[in-house]
Symmetry: C3
Subunit: 470 residues, 3 copies
């Protein structure tokens, strides 16, 4: 039995993720062959700049692959595995944590995590058998040993992965020392930052009031005046641009925007500063700040992204015990039509402004987002996001947005990940799925093959560079 | 003409419902071959325990197949057939009703009812021509004659259908005499009950106040006190467990839950008892009762099901003339994120509690339900329900839930039917569709074949037994 | 390079839009071959009766194909092309506008506009190379020249397109002179009108008060009394019927209906007339008027259509500069369950009344619309509409409505277009997609081939004639 189970091979099939019908598959393969070697453009993600600044080896399999990945431990948790057993929020033997993961690896059947991980196991670490209980130690030892070789250091992997540019995401309170260190190191990998001001824009963010004071300290502006607060944003955006930023990002509960008068805005800001505000005020302030940020983008050219609609920390007890980002963020129904109107009424027709929209509510793809992006000059659609960053999710994205918004109002792929080793796998999934979708259009004579080649390249590479001004 | 139309053969193709692409179809067939003979586990449904207690022959084709099946007569009604003509709410010649049905059988093209019925006609009754106007009498006579043979009595069919366990659904006011009679009869068929307390939980249910008094009488508890009311529920749940129940079921207009203080709850219950409540109060009471039921489930181990989001009796005139369950229940948009939070805040992290969620609002699959089930230890997803219990509905369910929740946070199939003869057909459809979905994953190299075999068996059999503790 | 690009051929593949799998494709082709020659029944659209009354040649390529088609210029606008450059809201050289269009033709890859246009280019004008920058002038010259030949006059095209009946849509304020002229001309093309009373029913429509006065003038009724207003509607409906109308159409922001008492209605109408109403009042009045229109339909037999859920003129600056219908209408989430209940409570069970429902919110297909249409005798489902009138949109429509509503509660295809030359292309797309869908059912043994033939014909021809009483 044991021998039998050990015999499960791990192989990445060259035709994986292509449609099964042989004629369509042949077209998909032909399209994919032309884009597979293109460099990776990663315009939005959550890797840690410190990795590339310090270039220190990653620790062990559990620390690198399991503990930071909420996609993984949320699934284990859903099936009764305590987070503490995985070393999350508690000390635990990393090998034991890895064994638990291995024994539950079947839970990931049919999920994108399985695809990404198998790629990492096979391509990065050369493993040739499937992860399961019996192979847990082999995996742990192989991976952990490899991580101490120079070829597995962050910069070496960055180069091996053929990454042309990689954007991280930082708070305005981040001093960007790691980004500065990368630039001063002489290493030529292009790692850039992006401006994510939620901690100083969202009055309900943990530590918001202290964050404002920190922002004052960092910029020399008095963030307790409306003018000083805006000036501080402008100052930090300039610093971020100097560290390569071409974009901002905004993770709000909704996509709501406002365009209040100066008097209303100052009064609102006053209530926020006084800590005397309702959740309605907080929403109003976030909404107004999106429009303020758009105004700044018109000035400094930073591309704006909105990632709305996640109910953060839905599990109250888990949040109390473990804090943010523990797999308990749940999507909510999200409106765009009313929500974006104030901002669009002001800036929607600007051709030099780019606003990239994301959603966790797929019912908005065909109903709201594609019609909006197929009309407003400033709008583009971000790729299928988070829970929808998956083969089926990407297919639904293309099937429901293309007919109204076309391909050229979309922006190529974002990996949006902190799981650095999985970045090539994620881009590869996107390229395969997009080529498969294009192949179906070709096979149904809805698109000519020469055009499909152009679009495949655009989706894999060109559109991301253009939309994010990279 | 008549001869020609009579020549339409009725044949169940062995490859029905498998994907058409030959490579995928071959994999689907291989997977299906391993699960087709597994016994039927039916953990939730609406058959009548009296059938198995009494084991009397069913009456005639119309009485057995048409009159109780609101899927059928709602479609006929939508095309102008009066219910009275079918013998619903009025006396009518069953043969005449059957003829009308036969003449309209084309209306069911492309619907699951057609699949289920054709299976019943061919497999149970051996019919070899299609149902249509010309064959109406042949059908009526063949079926009605067969029903008088011992092999077509309820228990014989139960055995012939290879049913391992069949759950019915009863109100707390049901004395469960039929279940008791089954047990005392010496027959070994496993028919169990489930606890569906809507008639004594929903203040807007017809006869609610009288129902409370009947519950008091049945339990000896004073249901006009909050303590007595809860004790009565506990008492009935214990009786239901003795008749095999492993689950409760709750058919509320929404998924709303509450976790009110004892004082608030008692005050609310007071208003309900006094008949002096708003529809808001009624909703609040149902919401609070879901949390109370969850608390009881933690004590007695009954698995909890919520079937929310049906607007019952939407057609006012039909309801006035014919009463409940006449095909006029319409799904509504259903929120889970805010709705379930009070219950989940209290019990969401309990590993010994199981709450199975259903929906009639498919937009919640990927946006809300899969993310919730892929995180909370107590949650599982029930299968595609009611209008979505269909080939396309099941495919959408798998495509939109698997990537986030995996397979193992789902619970296999429910037939949820009162159409006893169609139970094998319904499970067969589910098995075929699931095997087809798995075959697509295998053909696209997203899952290995040995794993697909394990998952196919889990979906067809194991998961239902585990989730429902059978 | 130039020569190479000029070499791109334009060819309409005979198998376009059929599923790629060869077995399914063969069935689709067989089904399609039986319906491709059926005449076009176009029961709802926006062509101009004046074209057929006057039978004057169309002007040039830009004027005919680009400037009236908001599908086209909205996409160009979304990518930064000013409307003025296309001659919209400004004078511009039509050839220059056409060149801009040609240079941006790649934006339409994957969209239905591309399919429709390529058909027009190839089939109507005999073009054999693809539209792109290099072929812009060839196209402009070829099309513009052809338009001066008698074979390209409106009536000749109508006959060439094999149109059996074509409905236009007019306001009650339209004198229908063009329709009268068509009838009096001796030409036998069947062009009929449809009653679209939004300008005199929606208090928020531009010019509503003046429109009422015009309606009074036209009918001799005093539209400033409730009785006179209703009588005026009845009078115009009678006139419309005389010009062939078999239907009414209602383009409201929501599907809301009301059934107010006479006293409430008159009071509401008084506030509306006084111009002293809230947006709530306006919505209430539109809602009440749907029920009034239904009542009139019961009397005069006009089939009623509701096209709800478009947020008109979302782009405030564009509306100020260019007015209505400039590609800035965006769909909104649309409820049907609560919204239609007042009307359905009154007329839902009438078998002689037909109400055809449309949606821009696809999440309502399976959740609300199919269940409603699969029950209420008066209801039918209109085809996939506007942004969803596309190959993928039509497939989603069939996949999500058929299992609950069947085929026979749908009404075949509407082209709903003012782009006259594209009408055959649009019907052809619908026929191909429906045959492809049916072929999948046949290939999966969910429907027999002889039945699929019947359904294919019904979807292509019979159902439209029956539902619209043509």
């Amino acid at each position: 039995m044991r021998r039998d189970r050990l015999a499960h091979k791990l192989e990445l099939h060259p035709d994986r993720l292509f449609p099964a019908e042989p004629g369509v598959r042949a077209i998909a393969r032909e399209l994919y062959d032309q884009v597979t070697a293109l460099p990776i453009v990663s315009p939005h993600g959550h890797t840690d700049a410190a990795w590339f600044a310090r270039n220190e080896p990653f620790g062990n399999a559990t620390e690198l692959l399991l503990q930071p990945d909420h996609y993984l431990f949320r699934m284990l948790y859903s099936q009764g595995v305590p987070l503490a057993a995985l070393g999350i929020g508690a000390a635990a033997d990393p090998r034991e944590g890895w064994r638990i993961f291995a024994e539950h690896y079947h839970l990931f059947r049919g999920t994108p995590s399985r695809l990404w991980l198998d790629w990492v196991f096979a391509e990065v670490f050369g493993l040739e058998v499937r992860l399961e209980g019996e192979t847990a130690d082999l995996y742990f030892d192989t991976i952990t040993a490899a991580l101490h070789h120079p070829g597995f250091q962050p910069r070496a992997l960055f180069e091996r992965f053929n990454i042309e540019v990689l954007a991280t995401t930082e708070s305005p309170l981040d001093t960007l020392d790691h980004h500065r260190a990368i630039r001063e190191s002489g290493w030529h990998g292009r790692v850039i930052t992006a401006y994510r001001p939620d901690p100083v824009v969202d009055p309900e963010f943990e530590g918001f009031q202290a964050n404002l004071d920190e922002l004052s300290g960092l910029t020399g502006e008095d963030c307790r005046t409306w003018g000083g607060y805006l000036a501080a944003h402008r100052a930090r955006r300039t610093v971020f641009k100097a560290m390569g930023a071409t974009s901002t990002d905004h993770g709000h509960p909704s996509a709501r925007t406002e365009d209040l008068s100066a008097r209303e805005t100052e009064a609102l800001f006053g209530r926020i500063l006084a800590g005397d505000f309702s959740s309605w005020d907080a929403e109003l302030f976030r909404a107004q700040m999106l429009t303020e940020m758009a105004a700044m983008s018109l000035d400094d050219g930073l591309v704006m992204q909105i990632h709305p609609g996640s109910f953060r920390n839905h599990n109250a007890r888990l949040f109390a015990a473990h804090g943010r980002d523990k797999g308990a963020d749940i999507p909510t129904r999200t409106d765009y039509i009313q929500a974006l109107k104030p901002l669009l009424d002001r800036f929607g027709n600007e051709r030099d402004f780019t606003l990239i929209l994301f959603t966790l509510d797929e019912s908005a793809y065909a109903r709201e987002l594609a019609p909006l992006a197929g009309h407003y000059p400033c709008l583009r659609l971000g790729p299928a996001w988070w829970f929808h960053d998956s083969p089926e999710g990407m297919r639904r994205f293309r099937r429901t947005t293309t007919e109204t918004a076309g391909f050229y109002n979309t922006v190529g792929f974002n990996d949006d990940t902190r799981a650095f080793l999985s970045i090539p796998a994620r881009h590869d999934v996107a390229r395969r799925i997009d080529c498969g979708f294009l192949a179906e259009l070709v096979a149904e004579h809805r698109l000519e093959l020469d055009e499909a080649h152009e679009v495949a390249r655009a989706l894999a590479y060109d559109l991301a560079k253009q939309a994010y001004r990279l």
